[in-house]
């Protein structure tokens, strides 16, 4: 055997070994969702999709936790539910491919908690044509906000405006500085937020910084130099950790407000008393709050962890908001299934059921969010599918290292800010 051939075989063997490790390390499907009262019908598939390699895998774990509970309770209309995951490569083509894979699956009945970053309109077109519903999706593009197959439970559009108005009110801010990364999403929200508070007589200044920046300190200093009462940074989580750290150590005495999905828990906890007056906004409550819904979530997440999926952990270091996001989609699916007419579980039947479903989040008076009625569109003609515009204001507690509600912790309608 000549040396060139030997080398080629050596390379193939090395790559194959890593590949085998990969195959062995992940089953590629959901852990066995064993049921105490086992479903008796045929399997149905639900798909979830999110970007690979950017710390979003907890979404899939959350979906699996919810589906495990569904199967434990007899399945969906008697059918065993199987979770299929598709991790996209953060390109439009990759996201579209995942959606296409879901609609090509003849046994698929829904997409659960899909996370789309770059291809909102095109992915919406795919599920529209296929009639496949996306439950707890994140529509934020013109077509997706009108898409009849979109059934979002949260919102993407009001975190920054919420920070500006609710956070600003909480600290009595007369001036706000928005420091946003050079990404279209962050800049749009910042513009909306600035417009809202300027209408209320608050002065604003907007600073931007590139996503590729290494030392965030000069930008933090620039924001601090504006002497604002409230600073609102918005950037991907890695940069947010650096911002929060730099601002925390700068001696700045004003307040900060960020979207809850962007503030890394480890950084907040690690800074200790160096930071205070950090407010956060988001669609959903913190999983540590005291509500029956969240108790249910914590139990089901733990059950998934016990079955071997560490990513479903509700521990604060594991970004449990993402687990909750995933789980909530399955939770809504279960409620929708109760409205199925007939025994057939098809995507068409599920869409019909969803359109007559009101998702409740606990007993009346003890729910962290108001019910979402999918039969009542948002009156704004540009976003009829934005059923929930609620923004919840939260605050970081450095002593208990938790995120606590501000006031009653209930959502304020974002379109009424």
């Amino acid at each position: 055997m000549n040396r060139s051939r030997q080398r080629s075989l050596a390379v193939i063997a090395a790559v194959g070994l890593v590949g085998a490790l990969a195959a062995c390390s992940s089953s590629g499907g959901s852990p066995d969702a064993g049921a105490s009262s086992a479903p008796t019908g045929s399997d149905v598939n639900v798909w979830t999709t999110y970007p690979a390699n950017v710390n979003s895998d907890q979404i899939g774990a959350g979906v699996k936790a919810g589906v495990r509970a569904i199967n434990a309770d007899g399945g969906l209309a008697g059918h065993n539910v199987v979770v299929k995951e598709c991790k996209s490569d953060l390109t439009p083509q990759g996201e579209i491919a995942c959606f296409q894979q879901a609609v090509d699956d003849p046994d698929a009945v829904a997409l659960i908690s899909p996370l789309v970053i770059t291809a909102g309109d095109d992915t919406d077109a795919i599920i529209e044509e296929a009639g496949l519903p996306a439950i707890n999706s994140n529509p934020d593009t013109p077509a997706a906000l009108k898409g009849a197959m979109q059934f979002p439970l949260g919102q993407n559009l009001y975190d920054q405006p919420g920070c500006a108005v609710l956070g600003g009110d909480a600290v009595g801010a007369k001036s706000i500085t928005l420091a946003v990364s050079e990404t279209p999403n962050a800049q749009e929200q910042a513009a909306d937020a600035a417009a809202l508070v300027e209408a209320r007589g608050v002065t604003t200044e907007t600073l931007t910084f590139p996503v590729s920046t290494t030392d965030i300190s000069p930008y933090v200093q620039q924001a601090i130099d504006t002497d604002a009462d409230l600073i609102m940074p918005a950037a991907p989580p890695q940069l947010m950790g650096a911002w929060i750290t730099a601002q925390g150590r700068s001696g700045y005495e004003g307040a900060m407000c960020v979207s809850d999905g962007l503030a890394p828990y480890q950084v907040l906890a690690g800074l200790g008393p160096d930071i205070s007056d950090i407010y956060l906004t988001g669609s959903f409550p913190e999983v540590t709050w005291d509500y029956p819904l969240l108790d249910e979530f914590n139990k089901q997440a733990q059950a998934e962890v016990d079955a071997g999926d560490a990513l479903a952990s509700p521990a604060p270091e594991n970004n449990p908001n993402l687990v909750f996001r995933g789980w909530l989609g399955a939770y809504a699916l279960a409620q929708a299934a109760e409205n199925l007419s007939g025994d057939e579980l098809t995507k068409e039947a599920l869409v019909e059921a969803l359109n007559s479903t009101t998702v409740t989040f606990g007993p009346e008076g003890d729910a962290p969010m108001p019910p979402i009625d999918f039969s009542v569109p948002n009156p704004n003609p540009d976003m009829p599918r934005q059923f929930n515009t609620g923004v919840i204001l939260k605050k970081w507690n450095p002593e208990t290292v938790t995120i606590d509600p501000v006031g009653d912790g209930l959502p304020v309608p974002g379109d009424e800010l």
Partner: protein, 930 residues
């Protein structure tokens, strides 16, 4: 003013970070000759290791928990482990690539970076850990400014490390040994110094420094798998500013970069409000590089820079017999078999292939290492999208106009290439990519809202071909465009433009001496590749109804170069092989169908790529093309539709040498100075048509400097005339075009081209409409009468289809002269034409040179140390020493001249006695070289 001071002080911290990293990069470069693109990756690994060893609870629950060690021990351990990783890279990767081109080794370090990032992501995930401060970080008040104490500590550590490196470099044995290797590896090896040991030692030290830098700066920058990687761009800018010269200079340059860049940050918002362009501070490394190039760059490489080899290139044959059947089969599969996910992946593969074809033209054919092609593709796509969104352009008009616009942008990127080359060019295009990405592509003023830019459905003459609604049609359309692009690029390879490009790639000096306008050739290459990249970018943009530009980040641009080098940067098919691995291309189907691989894919791809580049430094396709060539020879005769390849065969009819246009070469008062050294001092002489004039003198007399000056390769004072025309200030290619052509001491043939193609280069120098038409229909191979006569006269017919590596040294010398003759020179300058030849070969050569003067009417100036050769063929001989004229006359007169004897010939000169007939060889005298 106080805010500027404050930003300046902050900039000292950033500058210290650059310096800490830059010293490590410089150390590795000096010891191993490799620019370590992965340096930021090693810094990142060091930071992660420190965290893992000192405070494992910093990570989330999925990270393996180890015992927390005391900080000092954790620090040392992290540095040691990182250094061992660096040693492994040197031993297992770069040591095996010692004979690979500098480009390939640069790409290898890029792939190492990807492996480090993928490995870090797999072990520690993407969730940002909390990093405790290591250095004291209380706030210091300086006037109105507040700044963390840690910045000054970083600055102090940077200064101490610089001083330590300087002391080691200057005053220790390891420093001297490393300096010796960095200046002359072969010379050092001859003295018993092991370059391998030095390389490993500097990799260990350099990556250890990287780890130190990473650990110290992590509390400021935080840690993620990609956190410190792009720092290599401003670090390299600082190194270029310091000319890779010394550690103190790198420190100074780094601090300058850090301070200036941070002060610019202060004005980012104002600049954006004024112009709409964001993050102008990120353009600062690019601005620095451009200024340095203008001040320091040269339009042609220096004498020692010639001869750097790039990966092999293909012969550019468009195999119709394979392409057509394959095209038909793929089309059938597209329309009848493939599901939608496959069609989308195929479209991406075809389109990325087109973008990578631009790199085949630019790097493969022209040798211009540009990392900006993906950025140009993105800008092309952006222009196309904006034409649709803002001006209502439909798909095809947007495609055409956008492609043309991208061609113009490509032309802009040619400008730095006119003054620099190699790694420097790679660095400046990398800086440009970073700037374009931050200032334009992620700027919503240009690239649209979070919804992207709605370009709508692509259609042609009313037929909807959008990838959203008709993925099969879009796949078919992109395949057609790809085949056309491949056709054009292969025609380019085989035509005069391609030969000029390859000549430039192989040897800019020799190309210029052959009449090739190097600057114009580069500009044409950048323009064509810009058009190809833009075409691909627009096709990617219009695949679906909304265009997003977030996928064109700096890493993807770097990766594109890595892909094509792995695939085979000199081969058209290499672009397709490389494109298969692009995001969302065919390889993504693996991940789509086996989700368990998705998290491992970056690591698998990285390791696979490393293996591919180590064992196939010329690209996978090069290896396959050799095997395929053998297979083709066996099978092709049996396939009726495959026509045998017709090779050019020269005519056997005797061609009478054509007398050239007679022109005198008149040199008057010519002086050449290099700084304070006078290499040539006011020399005057004349060479007439039909005359052979010899120029002799001891080593260092100024002979080659004189020849460089006369041929336009070095500035001079005085005057040179060709016929009645003064040619002072003319570039070498212009002199060659007007009839003054030279050969080189080192031959400097174009090794990737056959002998035939080497000879065609001078006759191709006129690039006109015909050259562009050849992109569509290649001309038949024709040698003009002068070149044919040279082939016959020099006996080169049997060698035409061989490359220089396949022929003997003597034959290579003949090809070098024949190439010069093919340019139809009135004046021929020969620089040591018989060095290394045997007596009989020299004699034959002498007869050849005489014929050039006698039969062709050329004026020939010969530099030689072989006295037999000189005395036997020259009509007149000029002797120079220390740049000054000593004497001149016939062979006999010079032999008798005491000054000439003293300067050069020595006591043995009386034994040498011959007339310039070329008949009787003489005994070599003092100073003669064999």
């Amino acid at each position: 003013m106080s805010d500027i001071i404050q930003f300046g002080l902050l900039g000292l911290g950033l500058g210290a970070i650059y310096a800490l990293l830059g010293q490590g990069v410089l150390l590795i470069y000096r010891g191993s000759g490799v620019v370590n693109i992965a340096h930021g990756g090693f810094a990142m690994i060091g930071a992660y290791l420190y965290l893992q060893f000192s405070s494992p609870s910093s990570f989330n629950a999925s990270v393996p928990v180890t015992a927390g060690l005391p900080p000092v021990l954790a620090f040392v351990l992290a540095v040691v482990v990182t250094a061992l990783l660096g040693l492994a890279v040197d031993q297992l990767v770069l040591r095996r690539m010692r004979n690979a081109s500098p480009l390939t080794r640069l790409i290898a370090t890029l792939i190492v970076l990807l492996v480090l990032q993928a490995g870090a992501a797999k072990i520690w995930g993407y969730a940002p850990p909390f990093v405790k401060p290591i250095l004291p970080s209380s706030l210091l008040k300086i006037g109105d400014a507040s700044i963390s104490e840690s910045y000054f500590w970083l600055l102090g550590i940077g200064i101490v490390i610089t001083a330590a490196l300087m002391i080691v470099w200057r005053y220790t044995r390891i420093g001297w040994v490393t300096a010796a290797v960095s200046q002359n590896e072969r010379g050092a090896a001859a003295l018993g110094i092991s370059p391998g040991f030095v390389s490993s030692a500097t990799w260990v030290a350099g990556t250890a420094l990287a780890a130190v830098a990473g650990i110290l700066v992590a509390p400021i920058t935080q840690v993620s798998p990609t956190a410190l990687s792009l720092l290599i761009i401003p670090v390299l800018a600082a190194l270029v500013l310091a000319d890779f010269k010394s550690f103190p200079l790198v420190l100074a340059a780094s601090l300058f970069m850090g301070v200036a860049q941070t002060i610019l940050i202060r004005f980012n918002a104002d600049f954006k409000n004024l112009t709409g362009i964001a993050a102008v501070s990120d353009a600062f490394p690019l601005i620095v590089l451009i200024v340095v190039l203008l001040a320091r760059g040269s339009s042609l490489p220096l004498r020692g820079q010639a001869g750097e080899r790039l990966p092999l290139i293909g012969n550019g044959r468009f195999r119709w017999g394979i392409v057509i059947p394959l095209f038909v089969v793929v089309m059938l599969l597209i329309f009848l078999v493939f599901p939608t996910t496959w069609l989308s992946a195929l479209s991406v593969t075809f389109v990325v292939s087109i973008i990578l074809l631009s790199l085949v033209v630019l790097i493969g054919y022209t040798g211009q290492v540009s990392i900006a092609q993906y950025a140009i593709a993105a800008v092309g796509g952006l222009i196309g999208a904006r034409l649709t969104v803002d001006l209502g352009f439909t798909f095809i008009p947007a495609l055409i106009v956008g492609t043309l616009a991208a061609a113009v942008i490509g032309l802009l990127f040619a400008l730095p290439a006119l003054r620099t080359r190699g790694v420097n060019l790679a660095v400046i295009t990398l800086a440009a990519t970073w700037a374009v990405n931050d200032m334009i592509l992620t700027n919503s003023n240009f690239s649209g809202t979070s919804a992207g830019l709605r370009v709508g459905q692509a259609s042609i003459l009313g037929l909807d071909i959008s990838g959203s609604t008709h993925p099969e049609r879009y796949a078919a359309f992109t395949l057609i465009v790809l085949v056309i692009a491949m056709f054009v690029v292969t025609n380019l390879r085989r035509g005069r433009l391609g030969r000029s490009m390859i000549a430039v790639r192989s040897n800019e000096r020799a190309a210029s001496a052959s009449g090739v306008n190097v600057s114009r050739t580069k500009m044409i290459s950048f323009t064509i590749s810009g058009a190809l990249a833009g075409l691909g970018g627009i096709l990617l943009t219009y695949q679906f109804t909304t265009a997003s530009f977030t996928q064109y980040d700096t890493f993807t641009s770097m990766l594109a170069v890595a892909w094509i080098v792995i695939g085979g940067v000199g081969f058209v098919v290499g672009a397709i092989f490389a494109a298969v691995g692009a995001p969302s291309a065919l390889s993504s189907l693996i991940a789509l169908n086996w989700q368990g691989f998705v998290d491992w894919l970056p690591l698998i791809a990285g390791l696979g790529s490393l293996g591919a580049i180590i064992f196939n430094p010329h690209g996978i396709v090069q290896d396959l093309s050799v095997r395929f060539g053998k297979l083709e020879k066996r099978i092709a005769p049996k396939l009726p539709w495959v026509r045998p390849v017709k090779r050019f065969e020269p005519s056997t009819e005797a061609v009478t040498p054509t007398r050239v246009e007679p022109k005198n070469l008149t040199v008057t008062g010519l002086s050449v100075r290099y700084g304070g050294v006078v290499a040539v001092d006011s020399l005057s002489f004349e060479v007439r048509p039909g005359q052979v004039v010899g120029l002799i003198g001891p080593n260092g007399a100024g002979k080659t400097s004189l020849m460089d000056a006369v041929s336009g390769f070095t500035p001079y004072s005085g005057s040179v005339s060709l016929g009645d025309e003064k040619i002072d200030g003319w570039a070498p290619h212009r002199r060659a075009g007007h009839g003054i052509v030279r050969s080189f001491q080192g031959l400097e043939l174009f090794p990737e081209m056959t002998v035939l193609e080497n000879l065609q280069v001078p006759q191709d120098r006129k690039i006109g409409l015909k050259a562009l038409l050849e992109l569509v229909r290649p001309s038949k191979t024709v040698l003009d009468p002068v070149t044919m006569a040279a082939v016959q006269d020099f006996g080169l017919a049997p060698l035409l289809h061989k490359t220089p590596d396949d022929i003997s040294y003597g034959e290579r010398r003949l090809v070098a002269i024949a190439r010069a003759v093919a340019a139809k020179p009135s004046v021929l300058l020969l620089d040591e034409p018989v060095a290394g030849l045997s007596d009989s070969e020299s004699a034959e050569f002498g007869r050849l040179v005489r014929r050039l003067a006698d039969s062709w009417g050329m004026a020939v100036l010969v530099i030689e140390h072989d006295m037999n050769f000189v005395m036997s063929i020259c009509d007149r001989i000029t002797v120079i020493d220390f740049g000054k004229h000593v004497c001149d006359g016939t062979a006999g007169e010079v032999r008798e001249n005491p000054a000439a004897i003293a300067a050069y010939l020595g006591d043995d000169a009386e034994e040498n006695d011959s007339e310039p007939t070329g008949a009787t060889p003489v005994v070599a005298g003092k100073g003669a070289h064999r």
